[in-house]
Every structure is written in structure tokens, then in C-alpha cells.
């Protein structure tokens, strides 16, 4: 039930773009994206809901393909501050939906 993230790690130069993917074997109701810097708590980036609603920061973009049970996070013109580990979390339908996170994608942005 744990979503699968790819790639596991990516190294970028400042200004380059990256895409992080998240796929699930079960039907998705919501996909959450969080970033965690070393030694800190995860911080919210975006939520994508079944039906197309999105909530998140303006500078972050993501897609949610309900049929394929996949989501992708798009990081454009990367900055040094984008470095960290990105986690996607998936929620099932219903009020008892817990949130299961993938293993994470480690992003390193170099000057």
C-alpha cells in the first residue's frame, strides 16, 4: 500500500528542472507532497485531490492522474533551498483515510 517514488535520488545544478514521481497500487483520493530538510520536520508543499482540486504553494506545481494512480511534482528553475527529501503521501477515500508516505526522493541542488 506504500506509494512508490522515483527517482530515489537526484542531483541538480541551480536553475535546472526536476520531476519526482509517485505511484500507487490502490485507488487514490488524495496525494500530499512534503519536503524535509536534514534534522527538521517535514513541511507541507501541496495536496492534490480526486476531482482536480489542488491546494499548495504558488511556486510548486504537480499533477495527479487518477486513472494511472500517479502524481508528479515539478520543480523548475531549482534553487539551493530546494534541497531536501521529498515525500509523497497517499490517502484513500473515506473519513477513516490515513496517510501513507513513500520512501522519499533525496534532491540535492548544487551551485
Amino acid at each position: 500500500q506504500q506509494p512508490v517514488q522515483s527517482p530515489q535520488a537526484v542531483i541538480l545544478r541551480e536553475g535546472e528542472d526536476a520531476v519526482i514521481n509517485c505511484s500507487s497500487s490502490k485507488a487514490l483520493y488524495s496525494v500530499h507532497w512534503y519536503r524535509q530538510k536534514h534534522g527538521e520536520a517535514p513541511v507541507f508543499l501541496m495536496i492534490l485531490l480526486k476531482g482536480g482540486e489542488q491546494k499548495g504553494h504558488e511556486k510548486i506545481s504537480a499533477s495527479f492522474n487518477e486513472k494511472k494512480q500517479q502524481s508528479s511534482l515539478y520543480l523548475t528553475a531549482s534553487q539551493l533551498s530546494y534541497s531536501g527529501t521529498y515525500f509523497c503521501g497517499t490517502g484513500g477515500e473515506g473519513s477513516q483515510g490515513n496517510l501513507i508516505f513513500g520512501k522519499g526522493t533525496k534532491l540535492s541542488v548544487k551551485p
Partner: protein, 114 residues
């Protein structure tokens, strides 16, 4: 408080002892989650509370782990007879509703079992 508060921030214990970790969610948040994060690893779901509904305990790794929550306030995670493999950071998060809301994480409780 302004954010999710967890205590203790750091706990060192001997193998076999019991430990209790506490989480104070943001006031008014009905949903509360516990996750375990081993060094360099991902977020491992443990348990989820939503309002007055029965908690989802499907992530608890063994019967040594238990958690309680009083209404929509404080939660405690108890680990009995701790083992070295229990060493990890235990993160608590709360949100205002179901799984459609932003999760606010606490700073975590780092547990070291010697």
C-alpha cells in the same frame, strides 16, 4: 500553542524499559497521526486518530506499541519493553480534518535504545 508540540525531544533508555512519548496537536485539529522515521529512512505510518472514531492502528509494528488520545487533544505513544530496533525519531502530525488537509508536523521525539 501555535504548533504541534512533542515531548521529550530526546529520550535515551535501556533495552527492556517502557517509554512514553507525548504529542500536543494544534488546538481544534481533529486528526492526529504518529509516524516513525529511522535514520535516513522514510516516514513509517503507525497510527491515526480522527475525532471520536476508532483509531486506525494498522501501522503499529507489534503489540509493544500502543497509543491513546483524549478527545481531540493530547496523544501519548507508549512503547513497552523497548528494543534497539525501536530507536528512531517519532513524529506526530495533526490536521484540521480528514486526509484532505495539510499536516502540521511536530519536531519529533528522538528515541535511542541502548
Amino acid at each position: 500553542g501555535a504548533g504541534v508540540s512533542q515531548s521529550p525531544s530526546n529520550k535515551v533508555t535501556e533495552k527492556g524499559k517502557d517509554v512514553e512519548l507525548r504529542c500536543d496537536p494544534i488546538s481544534g485539529h481533529t486528526a492526529l497521526y504518529w509516524y516513525r522515521q529511522r535514520l535516513g529512512q522514510g516516514l513509517e505510518f503507525l497510527i491515526y486518530f480522527q475525532g471520536n472514531s476508532a483509531p486506525d492502528k494498522s501501522g503499529l509494528p507489534s503489540d509493544r506499541f500502543s497509543a491513546e488520545r483524549t478527545g481531540e487533544s493530547v496523544s501519548t505513544l507508549t512503547i513497552q519493553r523497548t528494543q534497539q530496533e525501536d530507536s528512531a525519531v517519532y513524529l506526530c502530525a495533526s490536521s484540521g480534518g480528514q486526509n484532505t488537509g495539510e499536516l502540521f508536523f511536530g519536531e519529533g521525539s528522538r528515541l535511542t535504545v541502548l
